[in-house]
C-alpha cells in the first residue's frame, strides 16, 4: 500500500501545518497534568494510589474528549475534499479509493496517537517523578489506558469517515459527527441507566446488559479501563457492574478492534460508490 503511505504522510504534514497536532497535544498534556497534580491530592484519603486515581480520572476524561477530537479530525476528510474539488484530482491519480481511506485513516491515527502518548505520557512522567514507586500492576493499567484511548480515537475516526462519506456537504457531516458524539458519549449511557432503573432486573439480565454495553464503543473502553483491574473498579463507580461483566481484556480489545474495522470498511464502501 505505497499510495496509502504517501497519503498518510500528507495527512500528517497537513496536521502539523494547520496546528492540529500541536493543539491536540497541548490540550491533552494540559488536561493530563492538571488531573495528575489535582487528582493525586485527595487520593490518600480513600486509600488509592495516585497513579490509580490518575488512570480513573484520565479515562473518564478520555471518554468525552478523545471521540470529540477524533470526529473533528475526520468528519471533513472525505466530504470536504469533494467540496473543495481536490478529490477529483486525487482520484485521477493511480490511487484506489480504499487506499485513500486507509491513508487518511493512518494519518489521522498517527496525529491522535502522538497527542495521546505525549499528553498522557507527560502526566505519567510527572507522577513517576513526584511520588513513591507505584505498583507494577497500576503501570500496566496506565499503558492499557493509553493504548485503549488510541483505540477509542480510531473508532471515532472511522465513524467520522462514515459520516463524511455518506453526505455531500461537509457541514452536514459535521452535524452527523456531533450526533454520533452525543449518542455514544452521553445519551446512550443515560438511556441505559434509565432502562436499568425502570426495568428492575426483569428483562435486563446481565447477559442483555453485556450485549448493550459492548454495543457502545465508549462502554467497551470503560470496561477495559475500569473493570480490568480489581483495585481500580472499586472506586470507579463501576464496581457493581464489574462483577457481572464476563469479558476478559483480550475479548474487549477484540470488540474495540471490530468497532474500528467495521465502520472503516463501511466508510470505504460508501466512498467507493460515490461519484465525483
Amino acid at each position: 500500500m505505497r499510495a496509502a503511505a504517501i497519503i498518510a504522510g500528507k495527512e500528517i504534514r497537513d496536521g502539523l501545518r494547520n496546528r492540529w497536532v500541536i493543539a491536540t497535544t497541548l490540550l491533552m498534556t494540559a488536561l493530563a497534568l492538571t488531573l495528575t497534580l489535582l487528582g493525586s491530592a485527595p487520593a490518600g484519603t480513600v486509600g488509592a494510589s495516585p497513579l490509580e486515581a490518575t488512570v480513573v480520572g484520565l479515562s473518564s476524561l478520555t471518554i468525552f474528549l478523545v471521540p470529540l477530537i477524533a470526529l473533528l479530525i475526520s468528519y471533513d476528510a472525505i466530504s470536504g475534499e469533494f467540496e473543495r474539488g481536490t478529490m477529483a484530482l486525487l482520484l485521477s491519480y493511480p490511487v484506489s479509493r480504499s487506499a485513500v481511506v486507509a491513508g487518511k485513516f493512518l494519518g489521522a491515527t498517527a496525529i491522535l496517537a502522538v497527542a495521546t502518548v505525549a499528553g498522557y505520557g507527560a502526566g505519567g512522567a510527572a507522577l513517576a517523578l513526584g511520588t513513591e514507586a507505584a505498583e507494577p500492576e497500576a503501570w500496566g493499567a496506565f499503558v492499557v489506558m493509553i493504548l485503549s484511548s488510541i483505540g477509542l480515537g480510531m473508532v471515532f475516526i472511522a465513524l467520522g469517515y462514515v459520516a463524511s462519506a455518506s453526505v455531500r456537504d461537509p457541514r452536514t457531516a459535521g452535524g452527523i459527527a456531533i450526533g454520533i458524539w452525543l449518542l455514544f458519549a452521553l445519551i446512550y449511557d443515560m438511556a441505559l441507566l434509565g432502562l436499568l432503573a425502570a426495568d428492575q432486573g426483569k428483562v435486563m439480565t446481565s447477559e442483555v446488559l453485556n450485549v448493550l454495553l459492548i454495543a457502545n464503543p465508549t462502554d467497551v473502553y470503560r470496561l477495559l479501563n475500569f473493570t480490568g483491574f480489581s483495585e481500580l473498579s472499586q472506586f470507579a463507580g463501576m464496581a457493581g457492574l464489574a462483577k457481572q461483566v464476563y469479558f476478559s481484556t483480550p475479548v474487549l480489545a477484540a470488540v474495540l478492534a471490530a468497532w474500528i474495522v467495521i465502520p472503516l470498511a463501511w466508510a470505504a464502501f460508501l466512498f467507493s460508490r460515490r461519484e465525483v
Binding site: R84, G85, A88, L89, S92, P94, E275, V276
Partner: protein
C-alpha cells in the same frame, strides 16, 4: 487497436432522470489534439470524468489505454493519464514544490524531475511559495504542471484556456504541441470553438449530451456549408458596369456607393473570384469573409436544436 488510446462506444450517463451524456462513440488516437466543444452542461466534463473512471458509465463501454477506467484493474494505467480539472483546486497550505512532490510520488515518478516540469510551465520561480499566495494564472500553471508529471500518454484538459492571459495561453499551446508530437493524445474541452483557434487537429462538438459533429476543422467547415461572403470595391466611374460584367448567375448586392457583396457557397467561391478577376474592371479591393469558427459551431448547435 494500435494507435487508439481512448475508445468510447455508445456511452451514456444519466443522473436520475437527467441524461448528461447520450450514446456517444468516440475514438482518440496517439498524437492527436482533439477539441471537445460544447455549451456548459453539454456533457464535456461528464465525458472526461468517465474517461478518468471518476464516474461510471450508465451504458456503453469506456476504454482508456486498453482498460476500463472505472475498474480497479485500471488504477495503475492512470499513471499514464494526466488530468487538469475544470475548477482547479490545489491545497493552499502546501507549496508548489510540495504539491508536485506529493503527486509525483503517487505516480511513481522521481521527485527530481519536477523542477524541469515547473520550469516548462513557467512557475519554477514561485515553487517554494505557498499556493495560497498564488494568482489565478500561477495556480493554472501549477495545475498544468501536475498534469504533465510522468509524460502522460493521454492528457485530459477540462476547459484549460478559460480565463487565461495570452502569455499563458501561448505556453499552454506550445506544451500541448510538444506532447502531441511525442505521441500523446491531448483532449481539450472548451465552451467556445474560437478559444482553441487552430491548435487542434480535430473538433468534436457536443450538444445536450450528444455528439453532433466530429472531424477536422476543414471537414466541419465543409459540412456546415455556411456562406462565404465576398466584398468587392471598384473605382467609382465603373460602378454601374460591375453587376453586368461580373454577375453571370451570381447575385451581387450593392451594399454601398462602390462596394458589392456576394453571399455564396464554399464551392462557388473560386468561380466568383475568377469572374471578378476576369473582368479587367478596376477593382480596388477584394475581401473574402470565411465563416468564423463561431458561425460553424452555431450551425451544429442550431441544427441539433431544430431536429
Amino acid at each position: 487497436m494500435s494507435g487508439i488510446t481512448v475508445c468510447l462506444r455508445e456511452v451514456s450517463k444519466s443522473y436520475g432522470s437527467l441524461a448528461a451524456v447520450k450514446g456517444v462513440s468516440l475514438e482518440l488516437r496517439e498524437g492527436e489534439r482533439v477539441a471537445l466543444v460544447g455549451h456548459n452542461g453539454a456533457g464535456k466534463s461528464t465525458l472526461i470524468k468517465m474517461m478518468l473512471g471518476l464516474i461510471g458509465a450508465s451504458a456503453g463501454t469506456v476504454s482508456v489505454l486498453g482498460k476500463d477506467p472505472s475498474r480497479r484493474a485500471a488504477v495503475e494505467t492512470r499513471s499514464k493519464v494526466g488530468y487538469l480539472p475544470e475548477h482547479v483546486a490545489l491545497q493552499p497550505s502546501m507549496t508548489g514544490e510540495e504539491l508536485m512532490a506529493f503527486y509525483a510520488r503517487l505516480k511513481h515518478q522521481p521527485v527530481s524531475a519536477n523542477q524541469e516540469i515547473l520550469k516548462r510551465t513557467g512557475i519554477a520561480y514561485a515553487a517554494h511559495r505557498r499556493i495560497a499566495t498564488y494568482s489565478k494564472g500561477m495556480r493554472q500553471r501549477l495545475a498544468l504542471a501536475q498534469a504533465l508529471i510522468g509524460n502522460p500518454r493521454v492528457l485530459l484538459l477540462d476547459e484549460p484556456t478559460t480565463g487565461l492571459d495570452p502569455a499563458l495561453r501561448q505556453t499552454f499551446y506550445t506544451i500541448v504541441q510538444e506532447l502531441s508530437v511525442n505521441g500523446a493524445t491531448v483532449l481539450l474541452s472548451s465552451h467556445a470553438l474560437t478559444e482553441l483557434e487552430t491548435q487542434t487537429d480535430r473538433v468534436v462538438v457536443m450538444n445536450q449530451g450528444r455528439k453532433v459533429a466530429d472531424g477536422t476543422l476543414a471537414e466541419l467547415r465543409q459540412q456546415a456549408q455556411q456562406p462565404v461572403r465576398i466584398k468587392v470595391t471598384v473605382d467609382s466611374d465603373q460602378v454601374t458596369f460591375f453587376p453586368r460584367i461580373a454577375g453571370a448567375g451570381l447575385e451581387w448586392r450593392r451594399v454601398s456607393e462602390r462596394t458589392f457583396e456576394l453571399c455564396c457557397r464554399e464551392n462557388e467561391k473560386i468561380t466568383a473570384l475568377k469572374q471578378v478577376a476576369g473582368t479587367s474592371l478596376p477593382v480596388s479591393d477584394i475581401e473574402i469573409i470565411d465563416p468564423t469558427l463561431d458561425d460553424i459551431y452555431a450551425h451544429f448547435l442550431y441544427r441539433e436544436a431544430a431536429e
